[in-house]
């Protein structure tokens, strides 16, 4: 396999990843406007962070690796892209969890169409104390 074929395959893979990212961003935007309350909107936020941001940044890094006319600074582009993607995939779930926990215990977000709240029942029964969660 020559280097030209490898570049073509990597380019196609990177464009597929960037297309998945664009689709996920639009889906997350629709979900952010249509979902009823804060705890359901966390789901749209996860789609935005992982599907819409992590995947196309990986795709852009792979695309930057194939730009041979760009010289050695294409490795800088690809490396910085991978570092950004790893930061996002590690820190976005942690941030969402912190925000959800704070919004639940400070009662800043109303749980209006309520189907089930098992944590509230556990706290009422005394199995889980509020300070230790």
């Amino acid at each position: 396999m020559s280097s030209m074929d490898l570049n073509l395959i990597l380019t196609i893979i990177s464009y597929i990843l960037i297309g998945i990212g664009a689709f996920c961003q639009v889906v997350a935007g629709i979900g952010m406007n249509r979902f009823p309350n804060f705890f359901v909107r966390l789901h749209a936020s996860t789609i935005c962070a992982i599907g819409g941001s992590f995947v196309p940044i990986i795709g852009c890094s792979i695309l930057a690796l194939t730009l041979e006319e760009f010289g050695p600074s294409r490795f800088f582009l690809a490396g910085a892209g991978f570092v950004t993607a790893i930061f996002i995939v590690l820190l976005a779930p942690v941030g969402s969890h912190l925000l959800a926990k704070a919004a639940y215990f400070s009662k800043a977000a109303v749980l209006h169409p309520k189907v089930a709240d098992l944590l509230e029942e556990d706290i009422k029964k005394g199995e889980v104390r509020e300070s230790t969660v």
């Binding site: 935007g29 804060f38 936020s45 890094s61 695309l63 941030g95 925000l99």
Partner: protein
């Protein structure tokens, strides 16, 4: 050579930006606004990476790493403010 086709993906991201701005302005509670601003930050980081590949400029991508860390800092500070009603020192 193969970079020009990146321009076709930009409008989808712009549509998503408009929808997040609507939620950030309208959001009934504070955590909704913070969540929408998080998503805006992630879209902006993706934009910076895409533009730095599209314009072939390595200077732009250095901002994306810092932006990803600032979004996490916003989450931590807002959750601390919501729980304790203070920002700490």
């Amino acid at each position: 050579m193969a970079v020009e086709y990146l321009a076709y993906f930009i409008p989808f991201y712009l549509i998503a930006v408009i929808m997040y701005v609507v939620r950030a302005l309208k959001g009934p509670t504070i955590p909704d606004r913070v969540l929408a601003i998080d998503c805006l930050g992630y879209v902006l980081a993706t934009f910076l990476v895409i533009f730095s590949v599209y314009l072939k400029s390595p200077l732009i991508i250095a901002c994306a790493i810092v932006l990803a860390l600032w979004i996490y800092a916003l989450d931590v500070y807002m959750s601390k403010y919501l729980e304790k009603r203070e920002l700490g020192e």
